[in-house]
Every structure is written in structure tokens, then in C-alpha cells.
Amino acid sequence: MSERGYDFTLQELMAVAASREIHDKEKVIVGTGLPLLGSMLAMRTHAPNMIAIYESGTIEAKPSITPFSVADSCLVPGAAMQGGLVEGLGIVHAGELDVGFLGGAQVDKFGNLNAHVIGDYYNPTVRFAGSGGSNDIGCGCKRTIVMMLHQKRRFVENVDFLTTPGYLTGGDAREKMGYPGNGPAVVVSTLGILRFHPVTKEMYLESYHPGVTVKMIIENTSWNLKINDDVKETEHPTVEEIRILREELDPTGIFLNKQ
């Protein structure tokens, strides 16, 4: 029982929400942490034929334990193919993958992400990792799932640095750029699930997590967030999903206990 009075934690809920975004037989570029757990959970529930691809060049990974890194040695034995970045990230770049996961320090209402700096690029208050494969995944995957801590300083009107394009300035701005991929489909935040309007491409709130209110989400978003007319509570994880996460995928709690 978590401190919030539910039989699951917020992190577990987010991993489950991510898993439900993946359909069977899809080709998914899997990161580390929650996206990895979400993808592995999908493979053990409704998407057994999902193909897990790692940017480090592993195609159809079938690890017997949960990998800790995109270059974990356990990814290699049993894979259908092992190459390098040209093979792993190259097919992302070519537009052949269905789903990619993204995160970052900031997101704006059109799903543009910042993974570089807080403050001025040339004189940063905080410097982060940089793009890594984020920009390539955001440009190349047919759709992306963004996972974010939902805080006012992270859900911002304008990102301090645009690392990975979402819908740029909204409307058809992204389409005009001619990327192989179509952009972010969903944002799974620590407070709720948000999607993008089909025409304006502006982010709106679809559901709030158990124990969270719409008001809390509005207060933790810097712009005037649009709320779906039939906004509802995020669907709870099933007992079985939680069991798989805890007992099979993260038995030592290395991913899910870190708050």
C-alpha cells in the first residue's frame, strides 16, 4: 500500500500507462527506467509480439533479466540482430519504428522538449545531458510517448532550448518540416495523461491520476492548460500488472522504489 492509499505507486501507474500505449506487433525503441518497464510489461500482457529495439543496435531483444542500461550485456544473447548505432538508431531515423519514448527537463504545450539547459545555452544555470538519441527518436518514430515529472517549472510556455521537436509552433508546423515521424501522441506525467488536439496540436488533459485533482494539474502547468470535456480519472493498474512489475520485472525495486 503506498502513502497515497492505493495498492500501487505513482511510478507503477506511469509504467502501466506507458505499457497500455503500445500495441501488439509494434516496433518500439526502448529506453531505460520507466519506459523500459512499460515496454517489458506490454510484452508480458497485451503485446507479446512487440519488437524491442535499442538504440545501441539490438533488434528484437529478449533479455532474461531487466536490463539496466541501453548497452547492458544481457540484451545481446538471444537478440535477432546486434549491430551498432547505424543499425539501432538508423532504423529510427529511417522512420521504420512505431513507438519511441522521450523525456526531458521541460516540455511546452506543443510537446517540444528540452534536454539541454535551464537558462541561457551559453551560460547555463543547469546543464543536462543533451539530446542523446532523443532528437532522432522525436523526428523518426511514427509516434512518441513522453514521460515527465509534472511541475510548473517543467511544463512551460516556452522551453529554454528546443532539443527535440514536438509540434513546433502547432498546427501544421511539424508536417511542413517533413520528418519521417508524426510527433508525440501522449504525455504520461506524474499527475495525469495528456494528449494533443488533432488540428491545433495543443496539449490537453485527458485524465488525472488517482489522488490528483484537475486543479492541481492546472496549478502545476505554466500555460493555460486545456481540459478535455469528459476528463476522468486515469484507469487504475490491474493486480496482475502490478504483480508482473514487482515480482518479475523489478524484483529488487531498483527502478520503482526510487522516488
Binding site: 539496466f68 548505432l85 547555463p124 543536462f128 543533451g130 532528437n135 532539443t163
Partner: protein, 314 residues
């Protein structure tokens, strides 16, 4: 053997890595040559520009030690292990001195090496355009990346990135022969293109094998000997990273590094213990076994999972 390029890490770094050079640093999370990295730090190399698709703690250690002025990469961090604090201190507070970074995406870096390896001046790609990496440059200015319209009439513009051809590179692999025919398997990262883009390469390997062993499975060779300047035999040369088939990642050691590097003082203690006070890799591993025990050391060793063999007969 007359054509042998075998030498120690100390000799290889002293002979081939000079202050001010542009150095490719191989390994994508997997198979990073810590043995060469630590030797660069011990020999106090200065004003280096380092390049690699994505960097981990090895870059952080060189930054903290003051070896680095410039970085060309997409990433300096350690995934879910955490941030790299020397990198942050240098970028945010110019400690120990100001460093600059030219930011690309992971695939853009890979494409820069690919162009370098193929001997063409630039290549287009689908990524980067629309991002602030197109408009923000530290020292390359207009030559960092350009947007060009497809000359074949698709109506789409693409980012084009210049070839990257480092003067020298180093990386870690499973095995090589004395002349430097290198075989690698598992996660290749930006190899083979990155190492082929370099003018010259230092390779550290787990094992030296005969030319005959290389010839029995030539598809596994990722770099031919003519590109290789030095071969350094260094078992556990990638620790605390993994080398497929030999040993696993030492997670505890990496977590400990990140914890110790939060403050400059404790970072210095770590570096004194594991870099400055040891003269070579043998001493490093002996120290490791003495401190953590032989059992822990053996736990890192990889299980034997042999591949099947194929026939090259004709």
C-alpha cells in the same frame, strides 16, 4: 614479430596522444577503454577536444582532471545512474576551467563519423532540423550544421553535417592480433564507422590472438590493422563498464563514482585512489580485488555463452 604494434597503455598514450589534439573516444556505454582514459589523465594531457556519440563517466573524469577544452557529442551523462558532476561543474561554473560543447544528436554524430569514414565531406539526415542545435554553436559557427533543400526535388530540406575525422582515436574491444586487426562483438555503438573515421587508432583488448584466429572469422573484424597504431593488451581494460563475453558492468562502482563526484573534494579522493595512485591496469585490478574481495571480482566475470560456428568453406 616485426610488425607487432603491441605496447603498454603508457607507451601508446605518450607516443600518439599530444596536447591539443582532437581525440575520438570509443565505446557506447559498453566497451569503453578506461585503461587508456586513465593513462591520459595520469600523463596530464591538456587542451584536448574529445568526440564520441555519447559520453559517460570516462569523459567526466577527463573533464574534472582538466584535460579537456572541447567536446563534440550528443550526450554526457550516465543514464539512470545519474548526472555527471564534473561535466556540470565545468559547463555551469567553469570548474576546473571553462569547456565548450558542440551539441548534436546521437545519430547526427554517427553520421558525421560515417561521412568521415567514407571520405565524403558531409551527409544529410532527417534529424536536427527545427531544433535549437541548428542555431546554437560554441566554436564551429556556420560550419556546425546547415539546412539544404533536397537537390532531387522532394521539396524537403535536410540538415547536413560535416564529416568528422579525428586525428587519433582509442577504443576497447575483445581481441586483436599483434598487427591490430580488431574483432569486436556485442554492442558496437558508433563503431565501426567512428573508428574507421580516425586517422589512427589505439585499441585496448582483452586478448591478443594470432592472425590465423582472425582469419577464421573475418566477418567479425571491425577494423583492419592498417588503421591501428597501437595494440594494448589489457584484461578488464573497460572496467567499470562491460565487455561482452568477458565481464559485466560494475554497477556499484559506477554508483560510487557518481556519489563521490558530487563534491570536488570527494571526487579528488576517488581519482587519487583509482587513477593517480596506481601506475597501470594491473595495479588497478589488484587494488580492486584487495578492496572488494576476489568473490566480487569473480561475480563480474561473464558466463560462458558460446555462439555456434559457421563454415567459411568454399
Amino acid at each position: 614479430m616485426e610488425s607487432s604494434k603491441i605496447m603498454t597503455a603508457k607507451e601508446a598514450v605518450s607516443k600518439f596522444i599530444k596536447d591539443g589534439m582532437t581525440v575520438f573516444v570509443g565505446g557506447f556505454f559498453h566497451a569503453i577503454s578506461y585503461t587508456i582514459t586513465h593513462e591520459i589523465i595520469r600523463q596530464n594531457k591538456r587542451n584536448l577536444t574529445i568526440c564520441q556519440s555519447s559520453f559517460n563517466e570516462h569523459a567526466d573524469q577527463m573533464i574534472g582532471a582538466g584535460c579537456i577544452d572541447r567536446i563534440i557529442s550528443s550526450y554526457v551523462w550516465m543514464e539512470v545512474f545519474g548526472p555527471l558532476y564534473c561535466f556540470r561543474r565545468a559547463m555551469e561554473k567553469s570548474i576546473p576551467h571553462k569547456i565548450e560543447m558542440e551539441d548534436y544528436s546521437n545519430f547526427a554524430m554517427t553520421v558525421r563519423f560515417l561521412a568521415g569514414a567514407l571520405g565524403i565531406p558531409y551527409l544529410p539526415l532527417n534529424s536536427l532540423k527545427g531544433s535549437d542545435m541548428m542555431t546554437h554553436s560554441q566554436w564551429m559557427g556556420e560550419n556546425k550544421v546547415k539546412l539544404i533543400e533536397d537537390p532531387f526535388g522532394s521539396g524537403i530540406s535536410h540538415a547536413v553535417v560535416p564529416a568528422l575525422k579525428p586525428e587519433i582515436g582509442y577504443f576497447h574491444a575483445q581481441r586483436a592480433d599483434e598487427e591490430g586487426n580488431v574483432q569486436m562483438w556485442g554492442i558496437l555503438g558508433d563503431a565501426p564507422w567512428s573508428v574507421r573515421a580516425c586517422d589512427k587508432v589505439i585499441v585496448s583488448v582483452e586478448e591478443i590472438v594470432s592472425r590465423e584466429v582472425i582469419g577464421r572469422d573475418p566477418n567479425r573484424t571491425i577494423l583492419p590493422a592498417y588503421k591501428v597504431a597501437a595494440v594494448v593488451k589489457e584484461p578488464f581494460g573497460a572496467h567499470p563498464k562491460n565487455t561482452q563475453g568477458y565481464y559485466n558492468v560494475d554497477r556499484d562502482f559506477i554508483f560510487d563514482y557518481i556519489k563521490m563526484s558530487k563534491k570536488e573534494e570527494t571526487w579528488k579522493e576517488f581519482m587519487e585512489e583509482w587513477v593517480y595512485s596506481v601506475s597501470d591496469r594491473t595495479e588497478y585490478m589488484n587494488k580492486y580485488i584487495k578492496k572488494f574481495g576476489f568473490r566480487k571480482f569473480m561475480d563480474l566475470k561473464a558466463e560462458n555463452m558460446q555462439s555456434g560456428s559457421v563454415s567459411y568453406g568454399y
